[in-house]
């Protein structure tokens, strides 16, 4: 469980996050949605320690993450996996080496054990036999799956997924969504997905936080989002003619 209390973040006089509070529950796929520039990425960066917050607290299963020593922070970070929008694979390493990298850095595993674990994860994400390929040889979907494989290599408790479907075709997007759901259920993770993709939201979201002007303006689940009368949320969710028609039929 990840708990945010009164998170505030400013860049000079520009307030990006304003008193953000929320609980992301374990074993659930928690979505943060919202228009570009509303503070989703900044919030995520604050949550994983890439940016300091100006005020507020972040706790991971009760353990404070703000203003703690490097050692304590590292203990929590070792339980965080993250899939970046562009996958952020290390270009100089093969798929297998990318996945083994956190194992090499943080575990006493032997080469044989690491190879076995790598094969397991690759099979899970549907990339068996691709261990020796370099990131430059992979398609967008394969890069995302490799990124996801690296993120779960150490069985983290918390998984952050940033725009998992950007740049992917609808079928590959569905596969990636399915993987995120499956991994969350299998490892009982607290998963946080930052997305604009309403298909993903409807497909796999357990909880949804809608962000607007640096605040969580609405929260609910994938069933209530279609019935909500929140004007900003409706503007975002039913932005396209197609979605507006669906809404009309749904009602």
């Amino acid at each position: 469980m990840i708990e945010l209390k009164g998170i505030e973040k400013s860049f000079g006089s520009l307030k990006v996050l304003n008193n953000v509070s929320c609980v992301f529950e374990t074993g659930k796929v928690n979505f943060i949605i919202g228009k570009s520039g509303e503070g989703k990425s900044v919030l995520t960066k604050c949550m994983v320690g890439l940016m300091p917050v100006n005020a507020g607290t972040i706790t991971y299963d009760g353990e404070n993450f703000i203003n703690v020593s490097r050692v304590e922070k590292k203990k929590i970070l070792n339980n965080i996996g993250m899939l970046f929008q562009g996958a952020a694979l290390f270009d100089s390493m093969t798929v297998g080496e990318n996945i083994q990298f956190p194992m090499k850095m943080f575990t006493p595993m032997t080469k044989k054990e690491m190879d076995k674990r790598t094969d397991e994860i690759l099979e899970q994400v549907g990339l068996s036999g691709k261990s020796s390929l370099f990131p430059s040889e992979l398609s967008g979907g394969m890069k995302k799956r490799t990124g996801l494989a690296r993120a779960i290599a150490l069985n983290p408790k918390y998984l952050f997924v940033d725009e998992p479907n950007s740049g992917l075709d609808p079928l590959t997007s569905i596969k990636i969504d399915g993987l995120v759901r499956e991994i969350t259920d299998r490892y009982n993770m607290t998963t946080i997905v930052i997305s604009h993709d309403m298909n993903s939201v409807i497909e796999i979201a357990d909880t949804i936080q809608f962000m607007s002007k640096g605040e969580f303006a609405w929260s609910g689940d994938r069933h209530s989002i279609l019935k909500s009368n929140h004007p900003l949320l409706n503007e975002f969710v039913f932005a396209s003619q197609f979605m507006r028609e669906i809404k009309d039929k749904f009602r």
Binding site: L50, K74, L77, M82, F84, L89, D91, M105
Partner: protein
């Protein structure tokens, strides 16, 4: 002032770079790899440039000796002193700044803009130390060897060019090249190289590490890395020469 901000940020970065690494044994293969990239892959270009530099110094010296009072062996002496004291260390490090410095800045800069550095940080890895320390250690270890090689190639090659072009006889060049030799001059040059190697690798890494934006900014960081490395090498060259030779 921006310069104080840059010096402060650079110092803070070096603090992170030299903090305790996560897993020391992971660093050894990285250092070896960097030594290959920085040193061994520069042997060809450095040898070629220093060979012709030695030849030019010898021929220019020969062409400027008009007086019968100045012996011809001065050509060998001047070539050796120029190569050992200045060309092998300073000029080779300037060449390496252009070749390797831009490479370091663009490699780390690309990692920054493609979130690879953030990925390391989120894993709990000290990204500054992991990415920069092996490059600094490798440069500080391998560049002195490259400079000693450059000394040899510069003096021998320069002599060969001067002799073959008829500017000086073999005996005169050999006598001059051995005249009043001081081993301290080699030590001086190697010490300078250690400082230059640190400056070149750390300044280039600094510019790469703090790249923001996209491909355009990576190119700008790379250019800045080379320019600032060269300026700092020249300033350090002056200071070290004052300290070590006077």
């Amino acid at each position: 002032m921006p310069i104080f901000k840059s010096v402060g940020t650079y110092s803070a970065l070096m603090g992170h770079v030299f903090s305790k690494p996560e897993k020391t044994r992971v660093y050894f293969p990285l250092i070896v790899k960097e030594m290959d990239k920085i040193g061994l892959q520069s042997v060809g270009i450095v040898s070629l440039l220093v060979l012709f530099m030695g030849g030019v110094v010898a021929i220019q010296t020969a062409s400027n000796i008009d007086s019968g009072w100045i012996p011809r062996w001065t050509i060998g002496f001047t070539t050796r002193q120029s190569i050992i004291l200045e060309f092998s260390s300073t000029v080779v490090c300037l060449i390496i700044s252009g070749k390797v410095g831009s490479n370091i800045a663009s490699e780390i800069g690309t990692m920054r803009i493609s979130d690879q550095i953030d990925a390391l940080d989120i894993m709990g890895i000290n990204s500054a130390s992991f990415l920069i320390l092996p490059k600094i250690i490798a440069a500080v270890i391998i560049l002195p060897f490259l400079v000693v090689l450059a000394m040899f190639v510069g003096v021998v090659g320069g002599g060969a060019i001067a002799i073959l072009s008829g500017a000086v006889s073999y005996n005169d060049f050999e006598y001059g090249a051995q005249y009043a030799f001081r081993a301290y001059d080699i030590f001086y040059s190697v010490i300078k190289t250690v400082f230059f190697a640190f400056l070149m690798s750390s300044i280039s890494a600094y510019h790469g590490y703090y790249t923001h934006g996209g491909a355009l900014e990576v190119g700008q960081s790379s250019t800045r890395a080379v320019v600032y490395s060269i300026v700092m090498i020249m300033i350090a060259n002056f200071l070290l020469t004052q300290l070590l030779l006077l």
